[in-house]
């Protein structure tokens, strides 16, 4: 008989459930720390976010009584292609639309991290996983209704997951591979969903917790609802109006299934492409919440606003990295290693991110899955760099018979930060004797060149929605992965990927993930300079807000309220 693990709340309050989850998380975190001899970066993420200038550890349980009403104004830097959560990939869609939808489960809003032990119920109140990891039974919260008044049932879960995994004609689902191990979805009752898998999938709950795994109405999915231009979710806010290039207006959902929430009466999300305009609007008070100020912008605001603002620096789940083209000399791993070894990462952090960034490998250095520092630094190029690195790099280039003064073209995206990055890389390459030049193209042309592999070196800024190894490796480091622009292939890494992907026990999986990363890093398919950080600023009258690591989870404002 299969053993069954139970998760989530039985018939308890959400607060008690969160307390129990926190305790369990604490136990697991201690075990992880002891087993992996981590430097406590997981604990750093759990506690007050790094670099916070004030009460950044405000929890979702507000210390004062929340006040009702008011409008929270925030911003995105552009328009999404459409309003369909299942097809979008950018935060310009996520930030406004995350207010409209729920997922089955979510990352604990009281925490700031994406650990697998931080997943709590959203539309699902609890769930059970069989010991072989092949069956997930989720019990849904009763009484949930869509914005159009239709009840939310297990049939909607089935339709939503099927739409993501097997999108209909005309719909492109960028995350369909995340659910390609689902064998069948059963709905034995309106509040019970049974997901049966072809093989164990350790990351399934993480994928379900992703902000993009929004639950749609089955009637809408089968009835030709235009998800590109309309929304119908179960979320705390309804989309009242979307004026392209201008703003999203959202109203509180008075029938939201979480009693007493949301506190806010409405949200307004302004489309502001220019960060200077966002800065000015935040300073004048037109914007109450701003994700994305640069360190210099944050520092410019502090003396002006003082205690009228709060700002938190969080890991942003993205890297500054180098991709290598598939032609000579970059095809030679010694050449790629030489660049990786020589690059001065500390200078890169200062130049690119004004000193705010974290060195790491292929998996986020703040995450549950990070490779322990000692093991990461043992990989050539990921330890201490500097002058020794340059000498070692020259030795490697000589061994690879790379002639001095060989011309190299650095392909870069148009944009001040990318061009700065490329100028830095150009300087680093010149120290190794390359005759490096920079070629600037706009984003569409840059992506085209990457996809066609018509480049030599391409510095990139690359973000990940999820920290899970399945999400990151399948996208960037496996043979044939969409963002494996260097086309590096390793059967060993691919095999380890499959193995860890099917390992349900987190600790055992972590061991395999560390081994996988250790095997992948020396292939130098991509050179990671550092993981960048993100800053979120909000006016002090905004309460109950807690920014999360990464930009595409946890950004829902049902706990937020305004003090004035």
């Amino acid at each position: 008989m299969r053993k069954i693990q139970r998760f989530g709340a039985a018939s308890t309050s959400r607060r008690a459930f969160l307390a129990r989850s926190g305790l369990a998380a604490g136990v697991v975190a201690s075990l992880v720390a002891a087993a992996c001899k981590n430097d406590g970066s997981g604990a750093k993420s759990d506690a007050a976010p790094a670099g916070s200038s004030s009460a950044g550890s405000a929890s979702s349980a507000p210390t004062a009584q929340p006040k009702r009403g008011g409008t929270l104004s925030f911003t995105v830097f552009g328009d999404p292609p459409n309003l369909d959560m299942h097809t979008n990939t950018s935060v310009v869609a996520y930030y406004p639309l995350a207010q409209v939808y729920n997922q089955l489960v979510r990352f604990d809003p009281a925490a700031t991290v994406q650990s697998p032990d931080k997943i709590v119920g959203d539309l699902a109140k609890n769930w059970e996983i069989t010991s072989d990891g092949l069956q997930y039974t989720l019990n849904l919260n009763p009484g949930v209704i869509f914005h159009n008044g239709a009840p939310f049932t297990s049939a909607d879960v089935k339709a939503s997951l099927q739409r993501i995994a097997s999108p209909p004609s005309g719909v492109v689902s960028p995350r369909k591979l995340q659910f390609n191990t689902i064998d069948a979805i059963e709905t034995p009752s309106p509040t019970t969903v049974v997901i049966k898998l072809k093989r164990p999938t350790a990351a399934l709950l993480t994928f379900l917790a992703s902000g993009w795994t929004a639950m749609y109405s089955a009637a809408d999915v089968s009835g030709g609802f235009d998800f590109n231009t309309k929304t119908n979710g179960t979320g705390p806010f309804t989309l009242k109006q979307y004026a392209k290039g201008n703003r999203f207006d959202l109203d509180a959902n008075k029938s939201y299934f979480v009693s007493g929430k949301p506190y806010l009466a409405s949200l307004t999300c302004f489309v502001i492409p220019d960060s200077s305009a966002a800065l000015a609007s935040f300073q004048s008070g037109d914007l109450l919440l701003w994700r994305g100020p640069l360190p210099s912008e944050r520092d410019a605001l502090k003396p002006v606003l003082g205690n009228k603002m709060e700002v938190v620096t969080n890991p942003a789940n993205g890297i500054w990295g180098l991709n290598f083209g598939p032609n000579a000399p970059w095809r030679d791993p010694r050449v790629r290693q030489a660049i990786t070894v020589a690059i001065d990462r500390e200078s890169g952090i200062k130049i690119l991110d004004e000193g705010e960034g974290e060195r790491g490998g292929y998996l986020p250095p703040h995450s549950f899955w990070k490779l322990p520092d000692a093991r990461l630094q043992a990989v050539p190029g990921y330890g201490a760099a500097g002058k020794d690195g340059v000498a070692e790099a020259k030795r490697l280039l000589s061994a690879a018979a790379v002639a001095p003064n060989v011309a190299v073209s650095i392909l870069t995206r148009q944009g001040q930060r990318f061009e700065t990055f490329s100028a830095f890389v150009q300087d680093q390459l010149r120290q190794l004797g390359f005759n490096a030049s920079v070629r600037v193209v706009e984003t569409a042309g840059f992506n085209d060149a990457l996809n066609k592999r018509s480049f030599e070196i391409a510095p990139v800024q690359q973000g990940y929605a999820l920290e899970d190894p399945d999400a990151i490796f399948s996208e960037s480091f496996l043979t044939g992965a969409p963002r494996n622009y260097s086309d590096v292939a390793s059967a060993e890494v691919d095999a380890l990927y499959i193995k860890q992907s099917q390992t349900i026990n987190d600790q055992e999986r972590l061991r395999m993930v560390n081994e996988m990363e250790e095997k992948a890093l020396p292939l130098y398919g991509k050179t990671v300079l550092h993981w960048y950080e993100g800053r979120t600023a909000w006016r002090s009258n905004v309460k109950g807000y807690l920014p999360h690591a990464g930009s595409q989870i946890g950004e829902r404002y049902d706990d937020v309220w305004l003090n004035s």
């Binding site: 104004s73 830097f77 552009g78 328009d79 999404p80 292609p81 459409n82 097809t87 990939t89 950018s90 935060v91 310009v92 869609a93 004609s169 005309g170 492109v172 689902s173 960028p174 591979l177 590109n228 231009t229 004026a243 392209k244 290039g245 201008n246 703003r247 307004t268 302004f270 489309v271 502001i272 492409p273 220019d274 200077s276 305009a277 000015a280 609007s281 300073q283 004048s284 008070g285 037109d286 914007l287 993205g318 995206r413 193209v441 706009e442 984003t443 569409a444 042309g445 840059f446 992506n447 085209d448 060149a449 996809n451 800024q461 690359q462 973000g463 996208e475 960037s476 992965a481 969409p482």
Partner: protein
């Protein structure tokens, strides 16, 4: 007149066909594709599976032969159907409907301010060339022509922010929905735009009026005993205004094409910003339709300007 307009219209039609073909072909040559950008997101930070890119290109009809794509678009544009955006799938006419009023309003406000500032300054300067006012005006126009309008716009925002802790309200409102908020949003960009143009108008007005004031008929009018104001306003200004009128017409046409940098600085969702975003997104139907529309507007304004010349100057009236 009708024959003249007919001939101009026929020339315009040929021009538009050439423009449409050129735009279509140039866009297809430029690297990048909308399917990859949709899947990677506008910030380009996401990944795009090549199989999904190919599928999306097929869904969008971009795998069809170029001739077929062009003829489909040409058929639509001939009946004024602008088609649908590849990026958002929405009708382009709907997307323009929200943007054109803003751009037209900005163009009219800026042109109005330009006329109000430029014409009087030019007249005052021309009436006393070499005087104190003339010197000041020439210095002012030299500075005004050197200052980029987006820089001026940014400086205005910064000054108002730091002095009054005020920025133009976010979220564009139509003038008939919220007139005061609309004025608050539009006045600064209109001022920033009009400064440079008014300097051009001032200089043109000044030099044109100085030329006209040296004509024989002006001397005759003065000798007849007409007052200075009467001579300038009733006789000189009308003739001196012809080149100014041409310049203003060209300015309106230019402004209707959108001023993308200023729209970005002031966060206005106008036609200019829409055009640049569409180019970044490789949204071919939008770019093609917008350029085609700009060409139509420009050609129309030129034809109307030429026809209107007859109102000002009987010598140019077509027999």
């Amino acid at each position: 007149m009708l024959r003249y307009l007919g001939a101009r219209s026929a020339t315009a039609a040929i021009t538009l066909v050439i423009v449409s073909v050129l735009v279509f072909l140039i866009l297809r040559v430029v690297p990048g594709d909308v399917a990859t950008l949709i899947l990677q997101g506008p910030d380009g930070a996401g990944g795009a599976d090549p199989a999904q890119v190919a599928q999306l290109n097929k869904d969008l009809g971009l795998d069809r032969p170029l001739v077929v794509q062009y003829l489909d678009w040409a058929r639509e544009i001939a009946v004024l159907d602008l088609g649908r955006s590849l990026w958002s799938k929405s009708p382009i006419s709907h997307e323009l409907a929200s943007r054109i009023p803003l751009t037209v309003e900005l163009a009219l406000l800026a042109t109005g301010l330009t006329t109000l500032i430029g014409v009087p300054l030019g007249v005052i300067s021309a009436l006393r060339p070499g005087g104190v006012l003339d010197s000041f005006t020439r210095l002012f126009t030299a500075i005004g022509l050197s200052v980029p309008n987006f820089w001026l716009g940014t400086v205005l925002i910064i000054i108002l922010l730091h002095v009054l802790n005020w920025t133009p309200p976010l979220g564009y409102e139509q003038p008939w929905t919220s007139p005061l908020k609309n004025l608050q949003q539009m006045i600064l960009p209109a001022v920033a735009l009009s400064l440079q143009y008014s300097c051009v108008i001032t200089r043109m007005m000044r030099s044109s009026l100085i030329d006209v004031l040296s004509e024989d008929y002006i001397r005759t009018a003065t000798a007849k005993g007409l007052g200075r104001n009467s001579v300038v306003i009733r006789h000189a200004l009308r003739n001196a205004a012809l080149p100014v009128f041409t310049l203003l017409s060209l300015q309106v046409g230019h402004l209707l094409g959108g001023t993308v940098v200023l729209e970005t600085v002031f966060n206005l969702p106008g036609v200019g910003r829409y055009m640049v975003e569409s180019i970044s997104h490789r949204d071919y139907p939008v770019i093609q339709s917008l350029i085609f529309l700009f060409a139509v507007v420009f050609i129309t304004i030129n034809i109307l300007t030429d026809a209107a010349y007859g109102l000002f100057d009987p010598r140019t009236r077509v027999q």
